[in-house]
Structures are given as structure tokens and as C-alpha cells.
């Protein structure tokens, strides 16, 4: 794969917080233009840190990329800040939705266009386009964002990010704490944005199954390292992934403890 087909390529990055806490050891990944890539792993595996390293939001949390390189759209992001990254077309949707609670739904979405120089008419036009993806938000446009449901808040956060006209979206756990029906709805919207608007997407998820079903490629990270990567199809059919992340095996459902037990048994056999 030549570099020009990748909108994002991360090479062997190491990230530390407060100069001491090593959050990422060695993460490399690529996001091809126009594709959806899932970053999977448990709590604390380093998914959010990876995304924040890309959007340069790390600095505001005293984090730092200490090794490796991150290239976005052909240039290094080393010297950029978050608002410059937005200007370059990379927008992160932070974990926990983070809507502006006291603003109305519509004000939240319009705020997303802050980095662009648009006239009132242009903004309205963009809004209408965004509402075609988020029909539910149009009905609630005048409500205060803090009083909308969790699913609606997630939609606000994604809609807000889309108003910046991104080439690439970073979604941090977009389905956290949502009911299965809403999870499907959110992923449908994400998929639609990807296909119709051509936005490349890197999403961090714990919801392995749904994430892989809606992605082209997947990376599984554990304790700050990429453990496994492959096309979404190959990961979905990978036995290890099935057992550890999807809770399914040939013999039926299984939990993590069973897997460990089995492993120690096989080790004993080998010994």
C-alpha cells in the first residue's frame, strides 16, 4: 500500500502522561482513505490515548508522544494543535459525548462550524444537510442539549463534528452506555456518513461485534500494544477474537476465565 492511499498512518508511537506514566508502548496503525477502521480493546488498553495522540488533544491532558510518528494526509502532526487539526479536516468526537449542556441542540451543531468561515445562509444549508442524517435531532432542535437522551447526545456530538466538514472523524466509544437499538442506529448513521460524505473513520469501541460488523479493518490493542490486526471479516472469524472479545467459541458461549483455564491445561499438556 502506498502512503497516499492512507489518510492516517501511525508508526510505532509511545505515549506518556506526566512524563512518567507509559500509556502506549508501541502502536502502529493505518487508516486508508474513505474506510472505517475499528480500534478495539478493553478499558485502559489505550484506545482513547491513541485517538487523542492523533487529534493532538493529548497536550491538554499532560500527555506526550515520546516516540514514533503520526502522519495525517501526508504531513506530520507533531507541531499542530487541536484547532489546527480541525482546520486540516480531522475532528475528534470525545468519549462521553460532551455536549454543550446549556446550549440548544441546534446551537451545539452550529458551534461545530466555528472553524469555518460561513455566512448565515451557508450555515443553514449545512444544517439542513446534517439534519438529513440526524432526523431525530431536527425534531429536538430547540431543546436544551442537557435534557436530551444519551443517544441524542451522541448524535449531537457526531453532528457537531460533521459541521466542521471533516475528511476524517475520530469516534471515541460512540455507543457507550446506549441500548442495542440505539447502538445500531448510531452505527447506521456513521456508515452512511462514511459512504455518502466520504469521511474516513477511526473509531474506538468496546462493543467488538457491532464495531467489526460496521468496519473495514480492525486493530485489537491490549495494554498499550497492538496485539492483532486484520480485515474486519478475518477478525470476526478469528477463533481467538471470538473467544476473548465476542464470547463465542465452537463449543458455544464461554467467558474469559474458561479460556484461561483451557490455556493453562494445554500448557500443562505440553509440559
Amino acid at each position: 500500500m502506498s502512503t497516499s492511499t492512507n489518510i492516517l498512518s501511525i508508526k510505532n508511537i509511545e505515549v506518556t502522561y506526566d512524563n512518567v506514566i507509559l500509556a502506549l508502548h508501541d502502536v502502529s496503525l493505518k487508516v486508508p482513505k474513505g474506510k472505517v477502521v475499528a480500534l478495539l480493546g478493553a478499558n485502559g488498553a489505550g484506545k482513547s490515548t491513541t485517538l487523542k495522540a492523533v487529534s493532538t488533544m493529548l497536550a491538554s491532558e499532560r500527555g506526550k508522544v515520546t516516540k514514533g510518528t503520526i502522519e495525517y494526509d501526508g504531513t506530520s502532526i507533531e507541531k499542530q494543535n487541536p484547532s489546527q487539526m480541525v482546520g486540516l479536516g480531522m475532528v475528534q468526537v470525545l468519549e462521553g459525548r460532551r455536549c454543550f449542556g446549556h446550549l440548544t441542540v441546534e446551537e451545539n451543531i452550529i458551534a461545530g462550524a466555528y472553524s469555518r468561515k460561513l455566512s448565515k445562509g451557508d450555515i443553514n444549508q449545512e444544517l439542513e444537510k446534517i439534519y438529513t442524517y440526524f432526523i431525530r435531532l431536527k425534531e429536538r432542535r430547540k431543546s436544551q442539549a442537557a435534557f436530551t437522551s444519551g443517544g441524542e447526545q451522541q448524535m449531537i456530538a457526531v453532528a457537531r463534528a460533521m459541521m466542521a466538514k471533516p475528511k476524517m472523524l475520530l469516534l471515541d466509544e460512540p455507543t457507550m452506555g446506549l441500548a442495542p437499538q440505539l447502538v445500531a442506529e448510531i452505527f447506521n448513521i456513521v456508515k452512511e456518513l462514511n459512504q455518502k460524505e466520504g469521511v474516513s473513520i477511526l473509531l474506538a469501541e468496546q462493543n467488538t461485534n457491532v464495531a467489526l460488523k460496521n468496519s473495514d479493518y480492525g486493530y485489537i490493542i491490549e495494554t498499550g500494544r497492538v496485539m492483532l490486526d486484520g480485515t474486519a471479516q478475518s477478525l470476526l472469524s478469528n477463533d481467538q477474537v471470538k473467544e476473548l472479545y465476542l464470547g463465542i467459541s465452537k463449543k458455544g458461549r464461554k467467558n474469559f476465565r474458561d479460556v484461561l483455564k483451557e490455556e493453562s491445561l494445554t500448557k500443562k499438556k505440553i509440559n
Binding site: 487541536p82 475532528v91 460532551r98 454543550f100 446549556h102 446550549l103 472553524s115
Partner: protein
């Protein structure tokens, strides 16, 4: 009976108008609280610093009134710029308490700078508006109301309307409210925190200058302005820290209550209750309505 009623009206109106002077000071606090969620202890020093510079430009350099005002306003923009660069930016990830302490320090720096540059004596500020009853109102309505009070009321009204429009209908106002709600999320969608902070501190500086002019014209431009500005604290507790209308209503309430109490209840305490009555009122508010009359309720979904 009519005499008494007229006297009460006079006390009340006088108090309300004097209250707008508190409102003006409180406005500066609200601006900064909205964007940084910090009570800016240096606001009093900013009032003192700005108006002393204004008077200094006029008296020591013979710069005409309007030009001196513009220069002082520009100076406050520079102060805002320096505050953002040297105080706020290094403390970007610090807790709100740390920023609060920093504003106390900033206050001392501004007080010191002002006195080093312009000296310590009390200066007179003549706005060309007398602090005596307007004859027309005295003749027709039988109320004795100071021209300066009326001017302060008008100026306050203009500033409120201006700020309200700025917050509600402009792009920068939207950015400001977004930052006030969640600075991290605001920066994630490309709202430059730097510019917002700079704007807010400059605006607070100019508001301080206007408030300083009003107070300076009444009480002389002197160090006591710094402490006077702390009267804004009960105003904010009553009105709500994050609300511009709250600052206005809070100021009016404090002004009216302190004057009425002073006149009618003051004698029983040997007078001079003006100084502490507002704080007593503030305590009641803290007990029964801590977010103030117009403060944003802390919204939490359950």
C-alpha cells in the same frame, strides 16, 4: 403621608440607581466566570488600574478625554493579552482553584503597577456630569436623583444590551458559551480557546474601565476602589455568577436594599449598616438559593 411616600420613593430610586454601579462592576466578574468558571479576584484591581490609567493619561499627559478613554481601553486589551499569555495559558490544565489563586496574585500585580506608574494620591475624575440632583426631576417629580446615578443607569443598560446581543447572536458569543460549558469539547471542534480567553479578559477590562469611571467620578480615583469592587460579591451571589441579567438585578437589589435598610433600620444599629447588610442578604441566598436568582442550575441527567 405623601411626604413619607415621596421620601421612600427617593430612597428606593436612589438605591436602585446606585445599584447599577454595583451591576457594572459585577458584569466584569460575570464575563470571566462564564468563560473560565473562576471568580476573578483581580477584577477590583482592574477597575482601579484602568481608571487610574485613564485619569493619569488626562492629567499627566494632557491627552483629551476621548483619546485618553480609548488609550485606557486599549491598555486593558493589552492587560487581557498578557493575562492570557502569562497567567492563563501556563495554567491551562490546572484546577479552577489554582486559577482562582492566580487571579489574587494578578490583582496585587495590577495594584502595584498602577501605583508605581501613577502615584498613590487620590485623583479627581470629572466626567462633566454632576453628582447632584437633576433640577428638572426635582421640580416635576419632587424626587432628588443624582445626574451621575442616572448616567450610570443608562450606561449599565447599554452595556447589558450590548453584551446580551453579543452572547446570544454572534459567532464569537456562541463560541464563548460553548467554552463556558465544556472547554475540552469546544477545543475538539476547533474553537480556539486562546482567542476566547483574550476576548473575555479584554471585555472584562473595558467593563472595569467603565465601572471605574462611574465610581471614580463619585468617590475619587483611589485605592479604595479595589475593595469597593468586592461589593460585587453579594451582587453575584444574589444574581447568579454566570448570568448577565443576574448581575444587573442583583446590583439593583443590593443597591435598593442597602439604602432602604440604612435609612429605616440603620438608626437602630447606630447607622452604617450599608457596609454589611448586603452580605447578610447574601448569606440568606447561599442558604436557600445557592445558584442565585438567575444562575445556571447545575443540570444533571438522572
Amino acid at each position: 403621608m405623601v411626604e413619607e411616600l415621596l421620601f421612600f420613593m427617593e430612597v428606593l430610586v436612589g438605591g436602585l440607581l446606585a445599584g447599577t454601579m454595583y451591576s457594572l462592576v459585577a458584569l466584569g466578574f460575570v464575563l470571566i466566570f462564564k468563560a473560565s468558571a473562576t471568580f476573578n479576584f483581580s477584577q477590583g484591581a482592574m477597575v482601579f488600574f484602568s481608571v487610574l490609567a485613564f485619569v493619569g493619561f488626562m492629567q499627566d499627559f494632557n491627552i483629551p478625554f476621548v483619546l485618553a478613554f480609548i488609550l485606557a481601553a486599549l491598555l486593558m486589551v493589552v492587560v487581557g493579552l498578557c493575562t492570557e499569555r502569562f497567567v492563563l495559558r501556563p495554567l491551562m490544565n490546572a484546577s479552577e482553584d489554582t486559577v482562582l489563586m492566580a487571579t489574587i496574585g494578578l490583582g496585587y500585580v495590577l495594584e502595584g503597577l498602577a501605583q508605581a506608574a501613577w502615584g498613590v494620591e487620590v485623583r479627581r475624575l470629572d466626567l462633566g456630569i454632576g453628582d447632584f440632583p437633576v433640577p428638572w426631576i426635582a421640580d416635576n417629580l419632587k424626587l432628588f436623583i443624582s445626574a451621575l446615578d442616572i448616567t450610570a443607569g443608562l450606561v449599565a443598560a447599554i452595556m447589558i444590551i450590548g453584551l446580551f446581543l453579543l452572547f446570544k447572536y454572534t459567532k464569537i458569543g456562541l463560541g464563548l458559551r460553548a467554552v463556558a460549558d465544556d472547554a475540552g469539547a469546544a477545543s475538539s471542534i476547533g474553537i480556539p480557546l486562546k482567542h476566547i480567553m483574550l476576548l473575555v479578559w479584554s471585555a472584562a477590562g473595558v467593563v472595569a474601565l467603565v465601572a471605574g469611571c462611574m465610581w471614580g467620578a463619585r468617590a475619587g480615583v483611589q485605592f479604595a476602589l479595589v475593595d469597593l469592587a468586592l461589593k460585587a460579591l453579594p451582587v453575584l451571589i444574589i444574581g447568579g455568577f454566570s448570568s448577565i441579567p443576574g448581575a444587573i438585578i442583583g446590583g439593583l437589589i443590593i443597591g435598593a436594599v442597602e439604602k432602604v435598610l440604612e435609612v429605616y433600620i440603620g438608626p437602630f444599629f447606630g447607622g452604617a449598616i450599608e457596609g454589611w447588610a448586603p452580605y447578610v442578604l447574601a448569606i440568606f441566598f447561599l442558604l436557600y438559593r445557592p445558584e442565585g436568582l438567575f444562575g445556571e442550575k447545575i443540570i444533571r441527567r438522572v
